[in-house]
Symmetry: C2
Subunit: 270 residues, 2 copies
């Protein structure tokens, strides 16, 4: 396993970014979106962007299984006096591939999601990018231990829904599909980016107190795909809303096509 | 130099805390305050607190110089699936001692400080502790390159002064000494904690637009001590306010006594 030294700024300050990429038969899925987000993160933090070629080295070895997860970490490297940058920045690029861990099959038909008490703070300079300062997500994920709950739902300080602990959020209202605007906090996922790009979803605002009125709710990311939410649990553990299993799930179909998950039952005949 | 593996959560998420401790003749200065802050950080993040004995191993070797800086990093250790904690948490404690790097001698008489454009976000769950999610400080420190500027001044989203990039802030108003309240953002320094403990300063709020009215302004931490601010520069680089050099600086005297800096000229005869 790769290592970083004590003075690496990724360790010292979370001064870096990462990507978690689904690998199918040794090839990265949605790679242009991952690379675009890396580029945005590097621009925002002022870290030199590695070339496509440098990044491609991370998947040169033969895959050990059909589906793998590639994690890339790019730190600003070592050095500097305190927070000040070193005179010469030498970023450190690390990668690791592990077999894909399958989620419970029934989650494809619907998951339980719990609203977290933690409220995301606003930092527009860091919003959207996948930086290494993830303590809010770590704290939010500690709010429940029940393994039947798939994800926690995170709202901002004004009580607007932003994301799930490790996924983005989507909902249907008056037949249209939406996802939260992430200008002030949250991570802009690559599956979300692809869905926005294709005009499948658009950005808007969803207050927590409007959640029980949405026609459908989903969580999703570029590794697991799209899960419909069947049960929404509030901060104190009570069921706030539930949605029946849909016979037809167009968002999941599109999402799973984007990721190459074609064998999912919900996509049959679409 | 110690290393951490790729899957260490300190690297992956900034899931940990750190301390920077002044070592005088091989002994940590203000240690009870550092240990208290470590304990608060561990409690807040739910990381098992190392014992005094485990921590003391960091300064068992003979010192290489009279003044050193000890940096301790405590991460939650390896593992877990995504943000979820591993079944067994095995924290990783790392330390490194380096010689103290002396700041320009004239900074004891007064420093230039620049107001940063970045506004600190609010996250009461993380405020005060010295966690590893420090991208706000890293970004703020990139706002200037002029080595004559000692520190950047950071305000919160409401425009209240919170801290300096790597120091706390103190000011005098109507003869009394104050420091910002850090309930929603900022790092609660150990020198600041000692000054609060002794009743030398008390917490209140200082809007940016009231800065030019304060009688005196200081920045300080437990390694460098207390520096009076002589010139305050605004976000666009213009001088906002300047203060004459004081013949007598009681805050610096108390601060430097706490750190064992007794030979500083400003402390003569006090």
């Amino acid at each position: 396993m790769p290592q970083v030294p004590f003075d690496d700024r990724g360790l010292a300050y979370g001064d870096g970014i990462f990507e978690t990429v689904l690998m199918r038969a040794g090839k990265p899925v949605l790679w242009p979106y991952h690379y675009a987000r890396l580029a945005r993160g590097c621009a925002r933090l002022n870290i030199p962007l590695p070339s496509h070629e440098q990044l491609q080295e991370a998947w040169q070895d033969k895959p050990t299984s059909e589906l793998e997860v590639l994690k890339l970490i790019l730190t600003r490297g070592s050095g500097g006096r305190g927070y000040a940058l070193p005179d010469v920045v030498a970023p450190r690029l690390l990668s690791r591939r592990t077999p894909f861990v399958v989620a419970p099959e029934r989650w494809q038909q619907g998951v339980s999601v719990r609203i977290c008490q933690l409220r995301l703070g606003y930092q527009p300079l860091l919003a959207g990018i996948k930086h290494l300062n993830r303590l809010e997500n770590v704290l939010a994920r500690q709010e429940w231990q029940d393994s039947a709950i798939a994800e926690g739902l995170l709202a901002d300080a004004d009580g607007n829904v932003i994301e799930a602990t490790s996924m983005n959020v989507f909902w249907q209202q008056a037949g249209e599909l939406f996802t939260p605007c992430l200008a002030r906090c949250g991570v802009a996922g690559t599956l979300r980016a692809a869905l926005l790009d294709q005009g499948v979803v658009r950005e808007t605002t969803l207050p927590l107190n409007a959640l029980s009125n949405v026609e459908r709710l989903w969580v999703g990311n570029s590794v697991q795909g799209i899960w419909p939410v069947s049960v929404l649990i509030n901060e104190s553990g009570s069921v706030l809303q539930s949605w029946p299993q849909a016979t037809h799930d167009p968002l999941q179909t599109i999402g799973h096509r984007l990721l190459g998950y074609l064998s999912s039952p919900s996509q049959a005949g679409t």
